[in-house]
């Protein structure tokens, strides 16, 4: 049999059902890889070996008893932003360094019910605020393709773990690009579903009108299998949408003949790395050869998505993170003089530099006298950006462009100026502002570093996105390539 760690979720599920391998064997094999590479990659915050083996044992019983589902026994990792009952959920922060979740996030609960085994919790930018995984209280994650470079963020641990084949798949979240950007920089597949498609219950909140749970996998096929198990209405999330979940796997093979692909003028205009552009255009040729047609579309307000985001997201962050008070849970400072001192020092010491920067930006834009000029203005521009996308989707089925302007950069290269760091998300933020589903799939290498193609769809168009990504992956092998140090 092929080496276990190189197999996709679909392949592992088949091997489990045909009893070529047991779930306990799989869990042991991946746990050993995680342990072996923890020191060099730092992809995990917690390794939940005991829980993994217990869940794998139960999965094996189900497999023996014949009541196993499509995913029973498959191991995955969870981003440490998802609450996992009885295990630590730190969100990459000192504030929650000792927080043991009293309940499971809906995503975790649904995957567990499907028989999926949890290997551990992946490292991330603190409270998902970052694009390089350098803001984590638990130290940066390293890119498996080059340990001197960042894996992207905020789901850097999930992306590095899947790229290094430490886990066949991982959950992740995306508020401004936090699934797609690290997926691109690590050479793996990432999907951010439509806002409201996946429950946010038990997912630590950053910016509630933008946050959405999703996946990082090796292939679009794996994303289809796992998304079907975790998506769908949840009454515990007030913005969860009551729509049935399609059988994503069943739609993967649809022919692309007649598919209308929008080429975003603003994405190709200026500022894009020439080599990345060459790869995206080559990927478009692959889709065109299958009958897709290209059409240029323009979203005139899209260039304003970064400034819009950096008003809306910090505003929501400052409100959401007000809950950390040093009283009910989380970090508490030593010997507070009075209540004000308790709040101020617990928060000042418990949050890292970037989180404090965002809380303060949000506090400022929401404060009296600035609310209209900043927050309401940004929400108006957000509506314009959303309208632009809506018009585009009258003309085309999907929009394709790059995921990132460059390949992975070096650790420390962009930490001195926040705005330089924020510009990494220039191509990804638009989909969050408009609540649209979007994917990143590997489409080539620039000087040995992977780059991604981004596919954005209309609301609830996940099925079409996965279909396009899958058909592309049937014709290419970029997604099957593992970083040289992690092949064996």
């Amino acid at each position: 049999m092929t080496e276990l760690h190189t197999m996709t979720v679909a392949e592992l599920a088949a091997a489990l059902r045909s009893r070529q391998v047991s779930s306990v064997e799989l869990a042991r094999s991946f746990l050993a890889r995680i342990e072996r590479h923890q020191a060099d990659l730092n992809a995990f915050i917690s390794i939940t070996a005991e829980a993994a083996l217990e869940q794998a044992g139960k999965a094996d019983e189900r497999l023996r008893g014949g009541d196993a589902g499509a995913l029973t026994g498959v191991p995955i990792a969870h981003k440490d932003i998802f609450c996992t009952a009885g295990e630590k959920t730190t969100c990459g922060s000192r504030m929650l360094a000792n927080f043991v979740s009293p309940y499971d996030a809906t995503v975790v609960e649904r995957l567990r019910a499907a028989g999926v085994v949890m290997l551990g919790k992946t490292n991330m930018d603190e409270f998902a605020m970052g694009s390089s995984n350098e803001t984590s209280y638990f130290g940066p994650v390293r890119n498996p393709w080059d340990p001197l470079r960042v894996p992207g963020g905020s789901s850097g641990g999930s992306a590095a773990a899947v790229a290094a084949r430490l886990a066949p798949a991982a959950t992740a979240t995306d508020t401004g690009g936090s699934i797609r950007q690290p997926a691109a920089l690590c050479g793996v597949t990432g999907i951010k579903p439509t806002y409201g498609r996946v429950s946010r219950y038990g997912m630590v909140a950053f910016a509630s009108s933008l946050d959405q749970g999703g996946l990082i996998t090796q292939s679009a096929q794996d994303a289809a299998l796992l998304l079907a198990a975790m998506a769908g209405f949840d009454e515990r999330d007030s913005t969860s949408v009551e729509l049935p979940v399609p059988d994503y796997a069943a739609g993967l093979e649809q022919p692309l003949k007649g598919l209308k692909i929008g080429l975003l003028k603003e994405f190709f205009d200026r500022g894009l790395d020439d080599e990345i552009e060459r790869h995206i255009r080559a990927a478009l040729d692959v889709l065109r050869a299958q009958g897709a047609v290209l059409k240029e579309v323009s979203l005139p307000n899209l260039p304003l998505s970064v400034p819009t985001y950096y008003v809306v997201a910090p505003a929501e962050c400052s409100s959401n993170l007000a809950r950390f008070d040093g009283v009910r849970y989380g970090y508490r400072c030593e010997k507070p003089r009075d209540l004000l001192d308790l709040y101020q020092r617990s928060r000042g010491e418990g949050f890292g530099a970037e989180v404090k920067r965002r809380i303060m930006t949000g506090t400022y834009v929401l404060s009296a006298g600035y609310y209209d000029a900043f927050y309401l203005k940004a929400q108006r521009v957000r509506q314009l950006i959303s309208n632009d996308f809506e018009h585009a989707f009258h003309e085309v089925d999907v929009v394709i462009g790059p995921t990132t302007p460059t390949a992975a950069f070096e650790l420390g290269a962009k930490t001195s100026d926040p705005v330089t760091m924020y510009l990494n998300d220039i191509y990804t933020i638009g989909a969050n502002l408009a609540g649209l589903p979007a994917m990143s799939v590997p489409c080539g290498f620039v000087q040995g570093l992977p780059v991604g193609m981004q596919i954005i769809g209309a609301h609830f168009g996940e099925e079409r996105l996965l279909n396009v990504a899958h058909r592309y992956q049937c014709e290419t092998d970029w997604h099957r390539r593992a970083p040289p140090g992690f092949v064996a």
């Binding site: 043991v100 603003e266 004000l340 920067r357």
Partner: protein
Amino acid sequence: MYDFAPFFLPEIEPIAMSLNHRDIENIAYLARLALTVEEIPVYVEGLSRILAMVAELERADTSQVEPMAHPLPGQRTRLRADVVTETDRHQLFQRNAPQVEAALYLVPRVIE
């Protein structure tokens, strides 16, 4: 300037948006964040840069558009029925509390 600033480098100079030391102290107070003296100048610079970038929003004509209220068109936040659905699990939840006594959260004295 920025690596790929051409993507949205403003055609007009953005309004100068700079904050000073006192502004940062005031914002930090509103946000209930204790900052060290070393942190303050870092945030003076960082927030000023962010606000200069954000000032580009001025370029958009938004006179004919309402602020977005929900990311999905036509959706409204769903309300649930006003009935008790949760059981009392305070013991479990208070395991994460820094200081608890007799099921009460302890804080420094508020009323003298």
